[in-house]
Symmetry: C2
Subunit: 290 residues, 2 copies
């Protein structure tokens, strides 16, 4: 079965220089797909306890068992912070999970989706149908190309932009540059807002500080939220948010009952609490003027 060097006795370990010395390990039963695309190594496993698992360049992107945490928060935090999000862009997230969550919003009229790697979309459609169902909505237009270039060409187009990137190595690297953040701002409509994958303040306080520093320099309103995702190393991941108008740390409007009934992680209370960080993390951001 083994494709990766990080498997021992049926356990896959997310061993990576980005978080040297610590790794999440998952028991895997079957390697369902393994191929190097033009951009990255794509592996799809059946795990013992967490359903199927998508791994890119050795890094866990999601498991079926807990993907709802990340996808719900990446979609509903920004969408419910905006009073009326009609035009939405998603950069990255080729699995379709963020799209699936956006699709639950009746007020969204048009969703552009830009992913660099067609193969991630294909694999997800084949092996992760409960996630890739996000592509089935007629409001979604798929663009398979470089997200940074796509954003650079936009001007005043979107109410909300969500960047569901992998980590700042490999094809995702450009999505952590300050030029990309300037382009994101330029691509927003007045009163628009962005939400980007914000890494982990226990493992990478320096990255969080840098991302929030860039966001602060560009947006009058900014905030950093935290999400529990047990199968990410460290068990949690952040969302970096910047806004041209709406405040971010509470929902801008009531959550429709029909929407809430479909959710497992997000609630208005979770929205507010997600922005409260451990004291050391708050201090990192404050001491550095973020």
């Amino acid at each position: 079965m083994t494709n990766s060097g990080n498997i021992h006795k049926g356990w896959f370990s997310e061993i990576c220089p980005m978080w040297e010395g610590i790794a999440v390990s998952l028991k895997v039963e079957k390697l369902l797909y393994s191929k190097k695309s033009r951009f990255q190594q794509i592996d799809l496993y059946q795990t013992r306890s967490h359903g199927r698992m998508l791994v890119l360049d050795g890094i866990i992107q999601l498991t079926e068992q807990d993907e709802f945490s990340y996808h719900e928060m990446m979609a509903h935090l920004p969408l419910l912070s905006h009073p009326n999000p009609e035009h939405v862009l998603v950069v990255g997230g080729g699995d379709g999970g963020v799209l699936r969550e956006i699709n639950r919003h009746d007020d969204v009229r048009f969703i552009d989706f830009c992913e660099i790697d067609q193969e991630v979309v294909n694999v997800s459609k084949q092996f992760l149908p409960s996630i890739a169902c996000g592509f089935n909505d007629p409001r979604v237009t798929v663009h398979i190309r470089d997200g940074a270039a796509f954003v650079r060409e936009c001007s005043g187009c979107y109410d909300v932009i969500i960047v569901d990137s992998s980590d700042p190595v490999g094809p995702g690297e450009i999505l952590f540059k300050s030029q990309f953040y300037r382009d994101l701002k330029h691509a927003l409509k007045p009163g628009g807002l962005i939400a980007t994958q914000g890494e982990n303040f226990f493992l990478h306080p320096d990255w969080v500080e840098k991302l929030m520093g860039v966001t602060r320099s560009l947006f009058p309103i900014y905030a950093y939220a935290n999400i529990i995702v047990p199968t990410y190393t460290g068990g949690h991941i952040g969302i970096c948010m910047g806004s041209l108008g709406p405040k971010l740390t509470a929902p801008a409007r009531p959550v429709p009952q029909m929407l809430q009934s479909q959710l497992k992680y997000y609630s208005p209370e979770v929205h507010r609490a997600a922005f409260v960080l451990p004291y050391f993390a708050e201090k990192i951001l404050k001491d550095k003027g973020v």
Copy 2:
């Protein structure tokens, strides 16, 4: 170096039937201590990235790098929920970390500490001085004996009782029984409160539900808080709290500036936010009448 079967190429993995299929792995450089005490296997490792690590029966109890999360919250959530905690009991927690945090409170006059395994105390004093310094305070009285029996003999003694147990297998098992919770209540002064290690709602919603069910049946006020601890499998752990008077979900009094300046995780905002759980976890507790 290897003592445990869960080490491969210098990586220790917390493989355990309690969380089948998922494990945190840490690169270990040296096994500093390894011995079976009367109660359990005790291993003390030097890790690559997280300082020293205490492992009991193969389960990670703490690493020097992130122990502050758990110890701060286990101590300061209950102590700052109480208007005037003078008499405190700690059951378990032989490393001394919870004691260290309690010692920061000037208003606490007397701390009983009851741990079943003298060897855990000894190992911690020898290898984890920054944690076991909790034993140095003259207000602490150490009792090396069965915590359940100790509590059973108390009546109306304590303002706050903190149960820093291991998991409900091995010597910690009795600390998850409903009789023990009845004895805890009996050991409290009027207006007292308890805080117990509450497991993980992603991995063990059934245990959380059971613990909160028992707490609810005994205490007029109860709540469940969550803490991020990256080196625990799943990345987080809960605290189950029951109170005879004080509300729990906000500090009962201002946090002294001198105390706050010593902390890395707890703040009044973190206190409040810790009780906001993901929607599915809130729902588990509500649907079951908890």
